[in-house]
């Protein structure tokens, strides 16, 4: 990921630029007060303004500007104190006014960068951000909802977007995917978007050309659209790179084209030339005054920027002695990093907490399919469980069971330990009883164990722990097992 991509066969280098559209996490739309909730009944979040009814006028959503500003600053852009809106015209039923309000010649921000995560010791790969600007989303057309008809759902019309355009600095399909993952992380840290490709809050179009390795001369560019997942982006770009390379190898020319990616078939098909060659009849938007940002608003936004992933990872390594790898995992998203730090602030040992967060927490969250912020076990409760473990009130296997019960029920750890009798068994006599029962239950293995097969220690420790319902401490059990063997 950190190395510039190896040239494709025959010395062609891919030159890739991305256009990313990100839905901003505002409660209401860019130009009106309709809600922006995903999944609402069709056409239930609409009004004269976003329906483009005659006579309706747009009014700019201040929070959308704040979030766009934050995104621009978080990507290291120069923010322009004055920017302007324009109308981009084309006819399609889900574009209510027959034009989209967007920014063109005077965008909100330009000249930013995003550094991709690098391997230790290597310089990070830097991808230039050409511009960040504000625009509104269109509605959705559904062609398979009603027989013989196309249906329009205009809930999405008017939802605020930022468009993030990169310089053509991306050198391979894999790097494009890495860029998107990194961008996702940065935007999530900034809190400006839900960034869900499944929900359509993050969409990508790609521009691809090939050039001869070592030259500056740009090849002909094609555009690939309809990319619906990060891995889809990588596959589509790989397809298109190979298609162009094959053409050039055979002595042909690449024609400029717009292609639609078909994920099911794994191929990109050209749009009809007529559709691709549109004149948008750009017109300065007369219904909106220029977007003016005074110096104070910009500097306040800069001050409000959260700690970004790399800085946070470095701080966690320094403050808690975590390894680089662990710090990277824990700062993978802001909500995960927040969770981890909350557990530590509630008194848990950082390294113990790191293990549980990276392991049990992430596994549970994945199994439930929920966000870390929505997970039933909150940081103070996990910290409480780790305290019980540290004090020896529960054994480690017991703690795992308690955690599972916490995830199911949301009850605090001490309560679960008490009600479900998961406290560590302290009585050696009881433990010895379980040891003997386990040995008796597995005579063949017991014989081998007594004969000296050390590997079977784990087997019997596990058996005893299970028999104890998680209450036995594995270390103590191992001691007792060995003692039993010595006794003969």
């Amino acid at each position: 990921m950190s190395r510039p991509a190896a040239p494709a066969p025959d010395g062609f280098e891919p030159v890739i630029g991305l256009e990313v559209h990100v839905q901003l996490r505002t409660r209401t739309k860019l130009f009106c007060a309709d809600r922006t909730e995903f999944g609402a009944p069709p056409n239930s979040q609409v009004c004269p303004v976003c329906l483009g009814l005659p006579g309706a006028l747009p009014v700019l959503n201040r929070r959308a500007v704040d979030l766009a500003l934050r995104a621009a600053l978080g990507l290291g852009c120069t923010v322009h104190p004055e920017s302007a809106f324009v109308r981009k015209h084309y006819f399609y039923p889900d574009l209510p006014r027959g034009y989209q309000v967007t920014q063109k010649g005077r965008p909100l921000a330009t000249d930013g960068r995003l550094d991709l995560v690098s391997e230790e010791g290597e310089k990070p790969r830097r991808v230039g951000i050409r511009r960040v600007h504000l625009e509104e989303d269109a509605g959705r057309s559904l062609h398979d909802r009603l027989p013989g008809l196309s249906a329009l759902d205009l809930n999405r019309a008017g939802i605020p977007l930022v468009e993030i355009v990169t310089e053509p600095d991306i050198a391979s399909p894999a790097e494009a995917r890495a860029f998107l993952l990194r961008l996702w992380q940065v935007l999530e840290y900034l809190g400006v978007s839900d960034c869900s490709m499944e929900e359509g809050s993050l969409r990508v179009d790609a521009n691809v050309s090939l050039r001869q390795a070592g030259t500056e001369e740009e090849g002909t560019r094609t555009e690939v659209k309809n990319l619906n997942s990060f891995s889809g982006v990588e596959r589509a770009l790989a397809f298109e790179v190979e298609r162009q390379a094959a053409l050039l190898r055979a002595g042909g020319r690449v024609e400029p084209a717009t292609l639609l990616w078909d994920a099911a078939r794994g191929e990109a098909r050209p749009l009809r030339a007529k559709e691709a060659a549109r004149d948008y009849l750009w017109l300065d938007e007369p219904d909106l005054p220029p977007l003016a940002l005074d110096a104070e608003r910009i500097s306040n936004a800069r001050d409000d920027l959260p700690e970004m992933p790399d800085e946070r990872a470095a701080r966690l390594r320094k403050e808690h002695g975590l390894s680089e790898e662990h710090a990277a995992v824990l700062t993978g998203s802001r909500e995960l990093a927040d969770y981890f730090e909350s557990v530590v602030h509630a008194g848990a040992d950082p390294r113990e907490a790191a293990g549980w967060v990276m392991g049990d927490l992430l596994a549970a969250v994945k199994a439930e399919g929920c966000a870390v912020d929505d997970f039933r076990v909150r940081p103070p409760d996990l910290a409480g469980l780790l305290a019980l473990l540290a004090e020896g009130v529960v054994s480690r296997p017991g703690a795992k069971r308690v955690f599972a019960r916490m995830a199911e029920t949301g009850r605090p750890p001490a309560q679960i330990v008490a009600e479900e009798e998961l406290a560590r068994e302290e009585d050696d006599a009881t433990l010895r009883g379980w040891v003997d029962e386990s040995l008796a239950a597995h005579p063949a293995e017991a014989a081998r164990w007594r004969a000296g097969e050390e590997r079977l220690e784990g087997f019997f420790v596990g058996a005893v722990v299970r028999r104890s319902g998680g209450r036995a401490d594995p270390g103590r059990v191992a001691d007792l097992l060995r003692a039993r063997r010595r006794e003969g």
């Binding site: 483009g52 006579g55 006028l57 006819f91 006014r97 219904d287």
Partner: protein
């Protein structure tokens, strides 16, 4: 009452309504009678596209009840008013004079209409207009022309021809219209009534179906300057739903009446009195200027050197914005969808074929000037000319004039069917277009006659100088009335 309502000012009627000497329902009855009278005969005026007299009567009764109960319904309480049919209303259709919005019921009302309601006014109907505000004669309405009440063989002007005719025919004392390049002032001039176009941004455009957004403004027509100002004041002021409407406070226009013009300086652009202006119009305007001098104003010649480029620049800029604003009329989501379409392309083509010829011409020209090959040359140049025209006005103000005076139109009302040149409408707007380009307030008032046809004079002031403009127009109106009476 001895004088019929159709000859009395809104201000007087308002006073009598409050004093209990006049009943709001009687006033509506009188309006209805005047309307009926204007509709009979071989040449009905046809000022209105829709009315609902029963509902109007009911509303008048409600207002009358509140007046009687000492509950103040607002500054326009009980006064009948007409509304141009490109302003969205809930109770009557909004057709914009187009087949594309035939029978369309807006699901929301324009801010200015809401303010009328909140001021206690009684809306009697929606008036005829050139389709989507594009035209200077009201002949481009899909529902047939409106006739000039003063001479029914002639046009009432446009695009607010219906509103001007409704006032001139004595049906209502005042009416709302819209003015882009002169669509309130020119019909006012042709029909012999007052028309005020305010500073761009002074009145909310929310609910005004857009023609050319950077030029459109809601305007007021009335029998007198005082009446038009009364109506304007009730609807002026910043609207949170219109981001281009301004925070300038609502000026007390009532204060501006009866103040005279002593010590003021009136500029007369030499470019507005040359060839191409009808001799009778020139004479009437010069006489008006002498009146102003007699009242103590200084009259001085000025120059607007870029005036002659204003109409072509307007033709480019207004049609470009029109083609943009009319893109939403495609039959897919609201309004009329032409029947028989089998594909999306047919929905678009068949529906948009319902545009009238003038609308289609303007959309095509507007699209052309925005197209990639022509944007810079044509549209870019027109934007530059607009800035030059605005600068001409700024230089005039800087030279010390309080207002400019021009004929409103170069000719009086022309006969129906005589405007055959494509875009010929723009030539009638040669003096009204420049203030529109510069976003300036301008008023037209009757200053004389040309063989029985009304002649209008235009007063233009700097932005936000509505009180000054109303003061000058009102003074001139009083002086001319006094002269006529003597």
């Amino acid at each position: 009452m001895t004088t019929p309502p159709s000859l009395r000012t809104a201000a007087e009627l308002g006073r009598d309504l409050r004093a209990g000497e006049l009943d709001a329902e009687e006033l509506v009855d009188a309006a209805r009678a005047a309307w009926a009278a204007s509709e009979v005969g071989t040449e009905p005026v046809r000022a209105f596209l829709s009315t609902d007299w029963e509902a109007t009567g009911k509303r008048a009764r409600e207002i009358a009840g509140r007046l009687a109960g000492n509950d103040d319904p607002g500054p326009l309480a009980g006064l009948p008013v007409a509304v141009k049919d490109n302003l969205c209303t809930l109770d009557l259709p909004t057709t914009c004079g187009s087949r594309l919005l035939e029978g369309w019921r807006a699901p929301y009302e324009a801010t200015v209409v809401r303010r009328l309601r909140e001021a206690g006014a009684v809306v009697v109907g929606k008036t005829n207009l050139d389709e989507f505000g594009m035209g200077a004669s009201t002949e481009h309405s899909a529902y047939g022309p409106t006739l000039n009440p003063v001479d029914r063989g002639r046009v009432p002007g446009g695009s607010s021809g219906g509103s001007a005719a409704a006032v001139a025919a004595g049906i209502v004392p005042f009416a709302l219209g819209s003015d882009t390049g002169g669509s309130v002032r020119q019909p006012a001039s042709f029909c012999g009534v007052v028309g005020i176009r305010p500073t761009w941004g002074a009145v909310s455009r929310y609910g005004l179906v857009a023609f050319a957004s950077s030029l459109d403004q809601v305007g007021a027509l009335g029998r007198t300057v005082g009446d038009a100002a009364l109506l304007l004041r009730a609807v002026m002021g910043r609207d949170p739903r219109d981001a281009t409407s301004s925070d300038h406070g609502v000026p007390d226009l009532g204060d501006a009446l009866g103040r005279g013009v002593e010590g003021m300086t009136i500029g007369v652009p030499e470019e507005c009195f040359g060839e191409g202006v009808d001799g009778r119009v020139r004479d009437a305007c010069r006489a008006a200027l002498r009146r102003l001098e007699a009242m103590g104003a200084e009259v001085r010649e000025v120059s607007l050197p870029h005036l002659r480029f204003a109409v072509p620049a307007y033709a480019v800029l207004a049609t470009a914005e029109a083609s943009s604003n009319l893109a939403r009329f495609d039959g897919a989501r609201f309004g009329v969808r032409a029947p028989g379409a089998a594909t999306l392309g047919e929905v678009y083509e068949r529906t948009r074929a319902l545009f009238g010829a003038e609308a289609r011409r303007r959309i095509v020209l507007g699209t052309h000037v925005l197209s990639a090959g022509h944007q810079e040359d044509v549209h870019g140049r027109a934007r530059a000319v607009r800035a030059l025209v605005a600068r001409d006005f700024r230089w005039a103000w800087a030279s010390g004039v309080d207002a400019l005076f021009t004929p409103t139109t170069p000719t009086p009302a022309f006969p129906l069917g005589s405007l055959t040149e494509p875009f010929g409408a723009f030539l009638s707007d040669v003096f009204t277009i420049p203030p529109s380009l510069a976003g300036l307030p301008a008023t037209s008032l009757p200053v004389g006659e040309a063989d029985g046809l009304p002649v209008g004079g235009q007063i233009v002031c700097d932005r936000w100088q509505e009180p000054k403009m109303v003061r000058i127009a009102d003074a001139l109106e009083r002086a001319l009335a006094a002269e006529a009476a003597s």
